[in-house]
Symmetry: C3
Subunit: 285 residues, 3 copies
Amino acid sequence: MSRFLLDYIHQHQAGWKQQPQILADERFQDCILLVFGQPRTAVFAHLDSIGFTVRYGRQLVRIGGPRAEAGYRLVGQDSQGEIDCTLTIDEETGELGYAFHRDIDRGTELTFYCDFRETDTSVQSCYLDNRLGVWSALQLCQTLEHGIVAFSCWEEHGGGSVAYLAKYIYETYGVRQALISDITWVTEGVHPGQGCVISLRDSLIPRRAYVDRIRAIAAASGIPFQLEVEGSGGSDAKELQHGPQPWDWCFVGAPEDHVHSPDELVDKRDIASMVALYRVLMQEL
Amino acid sequence: MSRFLLDYIHQHQAGWKQQPQILADERFQDCILLVFGQPRTAVFAHLDSIGFTVRYGRQLVRIGGPRAEAGYRLVGQDSQGEIDCTLTIDEETGELGYAFHRDIDRGTELTFYCDFRETDTSVQSCYLDNRLGVWSALQLCQTLEHGIVAFSCWEEHGGGSVAYLAKYIYETYGVRQALISDITWVTEGVHPGQGCVISLRDSLIPRRAYVDRIRAIAAASGIPFQLEVEGSGGSDAKELQHGPQPWDWCFVGAPEDHVHSPDELVDKRDIASMVALYRVLMQEL
Amino acid sequence: MSRFLLDYIHQHQAGWKQQPQILADERFQDCILLVFGQPRTAVFAHLDSIGFTVRYGRQLVRIGGPRAEAGYRLVGQDSQGEIDCTLTIDEETGELGYAFHRDIDRGTELTFYCDFRETDTSVQSCYLDNRLGVWSALQLCQTLEHGIVAFSCWEEHGGGSVAYLAKYIYETYGVRQALISDITWVTEGVHPGQGCVISLRDSLIPRRAYVDRIRAIAAASGIPFQLEVEGSGGSDAKELQHGPQPWDWCFVGAPEDHVHSPDELVDKRDIASMVALYRVLMQEL
């Protein structure tokens, strides 16, 4: 993912309004930082995915919190070549496994097979969380003059990169305003097609003064958006909240249905709203 | 709370023995640091409260771990004005909600209605945890010559400010001794009226060498105190324990009954013990 | 433990190939850092143990996750002298307690009585996790030319020292490669006698590029080893993963049976493999 993204950036940056400084070396492991102009705000979009690790026998262990249904098609590769197998669930124990014509190497990572479906009104695929957050951040790069775009790792299994990205950004640029470019949930209060979500809380609660500024900018922009209030869930913001810098953060992202399954579904109006909202927020924050 | 406290400090500091340096700017978000003389030890008292967030329909989501009983009176304000409503609990689902004559804006924060009750021997109110820890720290300020008093945020929902306060204090003043000025629980082993609690452990275990020094100072002072041993619970100390500075810390605070309810109850003898204990500890540590 | 280890180091270091710098002062609380030559990689071995804290009445609270069976022999000392008592479990409530001829001081720490059993092929005792990880690291010290050995604290109850050790090591020496010298579990996929474990994951997942290098070095060495894949469990690596430095880490340690009991059992072949593997890894990483 990191190499793919670096290639994409190198191919497309000539068309961007402002050339960013690209930071992608061992200090940042597999993460990438793009620094545009004189930044005041940083966007965090995680590159990693949920999935499964092959354990012993034909057992699987979850990476993050993927939905598991018997029959899901899983892909990967090991020392013996390409893998295209099927998820199994033991009816008695609930234990996850795979069906394949051969054993798979211990420790091999498997991901959902990608069945990308696009209509006039929606996009459906595995991993819209968070390929779409990454894509939206790349749209932002086209016109961004001042700001940082940080592509992070390991959000789906507990984090571990935002801590050092946040430290580097704060200490180098004095930036301590963040937007989390990630995908959230369609719920009884958040509906497809009604706009990008500004999250007022999940398991964590962002600082009200900052969220109020974001809400005011969004309201003045005329771009449709929705407000989310959840008691659970988390994002890259966890590491900003708990790290030793005084970050303000807010989750801003389109909602999806069929979360963490091969069939994640997002309404194109919410994608358009997300891209538009990031443009105006990065100008005015 | 932060503005109220700053006003209080500005009004009262003239009567304090030593004038502190007051740090309260964007580097510290809504926190306040008071630095007296040549500090060796820092007191942490959290400013925040438990409560509820309005979700969708008439649902509520907890902020931290408030006790919930149908009929509790909750207050707040939203775009339409003042709110004074009643907590409801769905008998089947256990879901929290509110009863009010109108809908409340999504994301509005509600807190317990304050019914402050004082007798000759006790104080009873919501939010003694941690208004009382804050009040006790302010009593300490009257006579404190050398030390730091740090008013922190968000302790009740996972923390997020002590990490940067701890880093700033350690790097600026070399201080790495802490006392947690917070309120704990009346239990089968901790009784009202028998003095302020020195906690030997909760879910975390403080470093024994430091706690032994505190116990020795307390014992020599003649001030009544009690020892607590718990397997669960936490405090601002979590961030000190897990942060990248070698902090020694100990929880020292009065016990309360009816924890996290509108009826938190503290014995005045334990308050007196808490104030007295902090005075001697901050001199001798 | 810290004093014992410092004494051991001072007695034995004359026979070591390279004299390390010994860092053991208040900046590191009860931890010890040994710095050999020009380090590229740091080994972390935790010094602490699971056990029990005396609560109220004759109750006990766990320190970390010790196995508890009625009749286990527990030892310690308090203000009245030496303690040698027996673990009890309330049949109805499951509550832990102790049987002894007198009350034990509140807050006293009790540990398993040590019944060390050695045969030609195995070692059995309480606390092989992590005395054996410490012992193996000390064997490594005999021949280590370039590297850091860090003896850490509090791994068994949530950590709190690796965060500052990691920061100090990274900022002082630029080292960000780690090996976790700790003991893991015999399972359906990890068998006694088949070699030291290289863990591909537990609740956390190490960075694949780094683990692949370790696997390649191990394979080329001819030393027997096993690969572990778990979905739960953790180690000092948690603090490396979540701290604000870009650490690569991997758990490398012998497996034991009867985990966290007085009867932890390790095969000597796996100990030999562990010592040999650390020697080659510290040379080649």
